[in-house]
């Protein structure tokens, strides 16, 4: 029943994927039969791994001023693939689309700043080793005097659906007595704080700092309110793709050891 449902929905999804995938490198033919590939038929050298990702999640993935799709996720995956010698194709189809693509077998893995969550593991997601640990914090209007979570009491805060920032806000809301408004995208979330409907927004610290700096918006990040942080990882759902997870973990260890990893992080977060 579960399988049938997934297959049915995959049909519909395949159409939308075809429409918005940004092909990078390999032919579309690889797309059609990858979901049935098992670990013994796919040798490390000729299998093209399909990795789905978000469209805009600065600085992990976004399109730069020159129109290139760049970001920490993009560079780390490229470095790992080079180190391990596997082929891959990265499709930027948005967070929801990426999650659905992996669930229905249209993509092998998702790499989109996905945090390792107990709920997701229980739903059948299998995570790689964490490749980046992001802390979460709040941003408030430049002229705001909010300096602690206590100052949020009785107000409403803005978060983005399904982010670690949302989890952080949820973990604090009962203790500090604020309510949460959920938005789809970062610009709307920030706008809600600027206009004053929400007193603050919760988001990954590097993401928020990069965004505020890049766009020059009238928000500031109060000091000392960061979470402990949650690790970002690549995730698969189909156990047959464990091979890819192993390749990824091995490559990640190598690029951390040889300094490539630090270079990438420095490139985006300096």
């Amino acid at each position: 029943m579960k399988k049938m449902l997934a297959t049915l929905m995959a049909l519909g999804l395949a159409l939308s994927l075809a429409a918005c995938s940004t092909s990078s490198g390999s032919s579309a033919a690889a797309n059609s039969n990858n979901s049935s590939a098992t670990s013994d038929t796919a040798s490390g050298s000729d299998k093209v791994w399909l990795v789905a990702t978000d469209t805009v999640f600065v600085p992990f993935e976004y399109t730069d001023e020159q129109g290139n799709f760049v970001g920490i996720d993009v560079d780390i995956l490229a470095a790992i693939a080079e180190d391990q010698g596997f082929q891959y194709e990265m499709n930027s189809i948005g967070w929801d689309g990426a999650v659905a693509a992996v669930q229905t077998g249209q993509a092998d893995a998702i790499m989109a700043g996905a945090s390792i969550k107990q709920e997701r593991i229980e739903s059948g997601w299998i995570f790689s080793d964490g490749y980046y640990t992001a802390t979460q914090t709040i941003a408030v209007p430049e002229d705001s005097d909010i300096a602690s979570f206590e100052d949020l009491r009785g107000t409403s805060v803005a978060v983005k659906n399904g982010t670690a920032g949302a989890d952080y806000a949820e973990s604090l809301k009962d203790e500090y007595g604020f309510t949460i408004t959920y938005f789809d995208d970062s610009p709307t979330m920030y706008q809600d704080v600027i206009i004053g409907n929400s007193s603050a927004c919760f988001e990954d610290t590097p993401v928020m700092l990069a965004y505020i700096k890049q766009k020059g918006i009238a928000l500031k990040v109060p000091e000392g309110l960061e979470s402990e942080g949650s690790p970002y990882a690549l995730a698969i759902m189909n156990e047959d793709n464990q091979e890819f997870l192993d390749l990824f973990n091995a490559g990640l260890a190598n690029i951390k050891a040889n300094g490539t990893y630090d270079e990438i992080i420095a490139k985006y977060l300096e």
Binding site: L5, E119, R120, G162, T181, F183, D184, Q191, N197, A235
Partner: protein, 222 residues
């Protein structure tokens, strides 16, 4: 899907409650707006007709999502700009305003068409007996217009109920927004959205069955 129901079932039912709250409040105000602007388009006064037509054209020309963003962000900005710095509008208020304006335009058209479907002689007969325009409209024309309007009104109600999902973009915690949240949290979008769709469908089927009953009862009374 069972897991979602287990963990998030009550949350999604509560969100459906918010959806219904938003829809019913909006429908109420949309009826008032629709009646007002529908009447403006039918009276024998050029200026009134133009005001009625402008409202309908302006609102129908705006996608609801744009209207929602505009009301939620644009209006507070405007009012704050006028000096009322502490002015705030929550997403329920903005949602009701946007949805009422939107649905009101369609209701105005339904009501205008309904009124015009009633034979002119009905109004003339009522006026010739000394009844005012308002009394003639509310006692004679509208009760007859309602009959032809009901199927369109039910249809519009259903559309509006589904349109509440668009208000998820301004953060209103209705069913669609909550499902986005649930879907992202558990990482099972297929199941979450299927459940969400089924919930809308069940509520809409119940509501349209109920409206069909009302329709039948009104038509029996002739």
């Amino acid at each position: 899907m069972l897991r979602i129901i287990q963990i998030y079932g009550t949350m999604m039912v509560a969100a459906m409650g918010q959806t219904l709250l938003l829809a019913l409040l909006s429908l109420f105000f949309a009826c008032l707006l629709g009646l007002f602007f529908g009447l403006l388009s039918t009276v024998r006064n050029r200026a009134c007709n133009i005001i009625g037509a402008v409202y309908v054209d302006a609102i129908r020309g705006w996608p609801l999502i744009v209207l929602a963003y505009f009301v939620y962000f644009g209006i507070p900005m405007l009012i704050q700009g006028l000096g009322f710095k502490s002015f705030r509008m929550d997403s329920l208020q903005a949602g009701v305003i946007a949805l009422s304006l939107n649905c009101g335009a369609y209701m105005a058209e339904i009501i205008r068409a309904g009124i015009q479907s009633v034979d002119k002689g009905q109004m003339e007969a009522a006026r010739s007996l000394g009844l005012s325009y308002g009394k003639s409209m509310f006692k004679v024309v509208l009760p007859q217009a309602i009959r032809t309007m009901i199927p369109s009104i039910i249809n519009q109600f259903i559309i509006t109920l589904k349109d509440t999902s668009i208000l998820s973009v301004i953060g209103f915690p209705e069913l669609t927004n909550t499902t986005k949240n649930v879907s992202a949290n558990v990482g099972l979008p297929m199941q979450a959205w299927l459940l969400c769709g089924l919930m809308y469908m069940v509520v809409i089927i119940i509501l349209s069955k109920a409206s069909k009953n009302i329709e039948r009862r009104i038509n029996r009374g002739r």
